[in-house]
Amino acid sequence: MSGNRRTVTPAWLAALPAGWLAVFFVIPFAIMLAVSVAHRVPGGFFEMGFELDSYRRFLSPFFGGILLTSVLISAAAAVICVTLALPFTLFLSRLRRRGQTLVLVILLSILSLSEVIVGFSLSTLLSKTAGVGNFFVWLGLLEESRSYTPSLFALMTGMCYLALPYSVLVLYPPVSRLDPELGEAARMMGASPWRAFRTVTAPLLRLPLFGALILVFVFTLGVYLLPQVLGQPQHWTLSVHITDQAVFQSNLPFAAAMAVLLLLVSLAMVGLTLLLGRDKGAEA
């Protein structure tokens, strides 16, 4: 980082991750860019060239609506997820050391479940015949079991289930480093617990909170199986359509063009969030 020549880490070490990035990210992205402007051969594959047909095709109300749906679904998932993760992490940080480790291990084990398992488990759990509706009937809350999937609710549940461990992992280090005396100081000065949280704890955690929002947003943008398993066709996100174009319609140029646009949109959202999360100086 510094200009000091006698740094402990030799500079050539940086070549390793740089090379890794180039081989596995930059080159594939370049290929994707090239494919996105290639010419599609109907009924066949594609031949290299330069035309903007695929991008032009995207500029329709249909695909614009899909992009908007994707962004809204991911943004909602990010907000719901972080809203759940913050109190959870605050609670977790107040547990004893052993309790914290146990909860973190359980949480991390969720990461080992694939999207497929989570998707089909939830789909069963929310179904009419084998799902939670039967439990509600047994409790006497419902006359007759009903299905809760496919629906926006089921999709959100699935996405938040997948993304919650990530948001907790992003929030956990800053939350556990937070000096408990700061909150206590606010209490001593007359702030109720909620007021102390709003005026001291939350502002101090602003950057990690924005970090968690970005992470969940970007992560759920790329989810392409859950919308098909748990969502209705109108909840299909751009990722689903990219898969559809690439795998089932064999239209790789169009899939690549959509992927490039999705990337640009995510970058724009991340930039916007960072801008909002910047330290705006003194404010009460």
């Binding site: 001593m188 000065m189 007359g190 007021r195 003194a282």
Partner: protein
Amino acid sequence: MTELSLRGLTKRFGNHTAVDDVTLDVPDGSFICLLGPSGCGKTTLLRLLAGLEEPTAGEVSVAGQDQTNVPPEKREFGMVFQSLALFPHLSVADNVAYPLSIRGRPRAESRKRADELLAQVQLAGMGDRRIHQLSGGQRQRVAIARGLAIEPKVFLLDEPLSALDANLREQMQVELRQLQQRLGVTTVVVTHDQKEALTMADIVIVMDKGRVQQVGAPMEVYRDPANAFVAGFIGTSNLLPCELTDASSLTLSGQRLALDPADRVKCSPGQPAVLSVRPEDTRLGPAGEGLEARVVFIRDLGESTQFVLDHDGTEITALYAPDARSDLKVDDRVGLGFVPGKRVVLPA
């Protein structure tokens, strides 16, 4: 009038008793120091006063009103934490004005009051700085100003000066004391530094193992310690096991020592006892007079010279003005004596 009153205050964490049955009355406007070694329960006692810990038993009242179950935000106390707990996301003035803005005072009025308070602690014109732009001593002052912003009923400070270097610490002790006298606010400071306690306090409360060992004015605690712990903790004391023969004499290392009426005797004859004498009240005479001792080490401290002696395996410290005893060298044999009237006999 008694401002702050504690009755049988006890706090247990599991089977560890941090604060054990503390009963105290703190007069209005006085400056109290809770003094003790780390782990003696002084910080827990302060947190019980603040309402940040719930007592296992006992009660806290202010001006006759029970506060035991009142949450901290309703107590109208000021507090300076050991970490200072300044809010890094707020400016200096907004930190000081925080308790006022919580109470819904208009922004301009709060800012005016914050500037006044900052001027009181010699930080006039620093209101717009960020906390990280301040030095340790300046942060200290911001924390004090913030604690005083609402004109608290009681001002609590937890080891407030421990992060400062020695010179600044002494300067802040004097400043804090002067500020407290000017405002007349009842103040309770936790410290493990006996010099700090002696400098600032009207009343020193010495604690050990969760219990109050002695309550008294600084010089009273220094001159007239209630037990061997207080004698050893407040300043330096030479503690020698002895036996009280009768009310006016004791036996020390096989020698009989007549007591002066001004000497303080805190135990009864027959009880195991210790003789406690301050280094400055220890006299070194020619060998053969008094107790036998050998000079082990000589430390020149500038304003005084300290002699470390060995008497029968017990380490004794004597303090003299510089050059007053330039005749003595290491390994010299001397006769050890104690100034009559300055001796204290305590239960062992």
